[in-house]
């Protein structure tokens, strides 16, 4: 009886896994089909496998600068991740460890902004970016990203859990505050930093609304906005569009496969404060 119940549950989960994975598989499989097979759907797998769609999107850089978009995406997501890890960890360290007058109040103000939905800042941030002359540059997406409070919160909580005597010992031995941060706190925080780093990278890679607002020339686009452009300009050419989708999805999916445990654990942690 118990065995049957377990089998039923496994069957249910397998069915759910298939339902959730099929659309992702279809992005890849469909990009390998000729257009005629896409319009007249004839099964999930291509009858005639072809790389023509990829050849076409990579061969016409003047019309479809997909390589450019890929570079833009890599640059922006890496820079955002670097900026957030650096700036947020410094702030979180100061707030968690250093005896600064007013740090409690400051922490509360910063954390309170976690509740503010991004859309409410969209118009004023656009105007500020415009004033700074950064519209339509990658910096419009990179610099404001460093201001988010999520990373400060996550790292602050993690730093509080690091035993303090290590740091005290280092200070007694004459280590500077920067030395403690660089050589003790950061190395001990690798799990938190990598979780934050992966979240940030994926979030930035997939971000859609910000590049839509801040970028307007085609060669400045990131992959998600570039791919969306496809839908409007090449509406009937699903094959090309899906090949572009593969270029946008594959790196994120690869990162997910590698860092799956980190990502899933991180999500679980944000929902369950221990």
């Amino acid at each position: 009886m118990k065995k049957i119940r377990l089998r039923l549950i496994q069957f249910f989960l397998l069915a759910a896994a298939v339902v959730f994975l099929t659309p992702i598989a279809l992005i890849f499989l469909t990009s390998l089909k000729p257009d005629s097979e896409i319009i007249h759907f004839s099964g999930i797998f291509p009858r005639q496998w072809t790389l023509d769609n990829f050849r076409e999107i990579f061969d016409t850089p003047e019309e479809i600068p997909i390589f450019r978009w890929l570079l833009n995406s890599v640059f922006i997501s890496s820079a955002v991740t670097f900026l957030i890890l650096l700036v947020n960890s410094m702030a979180a360290y100061a707030l968690a460890r250093l005896e600064l007058p007013g740090r409690r109040g400051l922490f509360v103000v910063i954390i309170a902004t976690l509740m503010i939905p991004g859309q409410i800042l969209m118009i004023p941030v656009y105007l500020i970016i415009n004033k700074l002359g950064l519209l339509n540059t990658p910096w419009a997406l990179i610099i404001p990203a460093g201001a988010g409070a999520f990373g400060v919160f996550l790292l602050h909580q993690f730093f509080l859990g690091i035993p303090r005597n290590l740091e005290d010992a280092a200070i007694v031995d004459g280590c500077s505050i920067f030395g403690v941060y660089r050589h003790i706190v950061l190395p001990l925080s690798k799990p938190a930093l990598s979780t934050l780093g992966i979240f940030t990278f994926l979030g930035s890679w997939n971000d859609f609304l910000s590049p839509l607002i801040f970028l307007d020339s085609v060669d400045k686009f990131t992959l998600p906005v570039g791919v969306a452009l496809f839908q409007t300009s090449y509406a009937a050419e699903y094959g090309l569009t899906l090949a572009a989708c593969v270029v946008c999805t594959a790196p994120a999916l690869l990162a997910f496969v590698f860092f799956q445990r980190h990502i899933i654990k991180g999500i679980a942690l944000t929902g369950l404060k221990e």
Binding site: P23, L98, I213, A228, I263, G271
Partner: protein, 291 residues
Amino acid sequence: MTRARYSNIFYGYLFLLPYLVLFCAFILLPLIYGLGLSLFQWEVLSNAPPRFIGLGNYREALGETYFWMALGATLRFVAMIVPSVVCGALLIALALNALPEKSGGFFKAAIFAPTIISISVAGILWRWFFSAEFGLFNAWLAPLGVKVPWITENRWAMKSVVLMTVWWTLGGPMVVLLAGLKQIPEQYYEAASIDGAGAIRRFFHITLPLLKPVLLFVIVMNIIGSFQVFGQTFMITRGGPELSTRVLVQYIYETAFASYRLGYGSAMSWLLFIVIAVFSILQFRLVRERE
């Protein structure tokens, strides 16, 4: 002591400085700036300088059909998506929790995977699935002689967006709920089994009460997130047909960045913020209760 202390304070603020500059420039300032903007009539296309009109923008929004339509579409989305995602996530989390220890990693990863796909890709994909003529779903339904107007008819469009959103976002709540289930001590279930409680009674008398804080957290987070829906409707239905799926964020986006009515757009985003704030406060209380 004092000299070292002062230099510590100095370095401490030095550590904070880069973040604080960004925080002030891109969160605090925009917050105040946006509130200010919402009190001005500022229409970039008309070339007229911004003019102070007090609560005029808010009055306009509350008296305008399009605003209420957008709010209505948003509410319809929230009302459908939250129960679907939460119940679905709970069901799958319960199933995963019933598996032997350390198994089920593949299922968990598979169901979580869609959440790491960009909305532009997911939108393109599902727009194709839903397409009336070339769409995948209708191709699958064709042998049954059924043709569903997934995104071409009002009564279907929002439901289709919800269907897609369940696929795209279920993973997060599932993972959180599963972690919550894992925290319930095994002995409770054993004791209940010995007392003769069946699976259903165990669920309602042990699982649900003990999971309640996590469950409430997931529900509130989901409500807050769902009010901010944009990408799905923007990519899949473009707000149509007949604006039936044009949600608030899309309307704000169009008002600000297509019509360039910046003051009016800001006012509407503050109205959205008020709605979300109610739920945020609720969530804050829930978190406090748990501590």
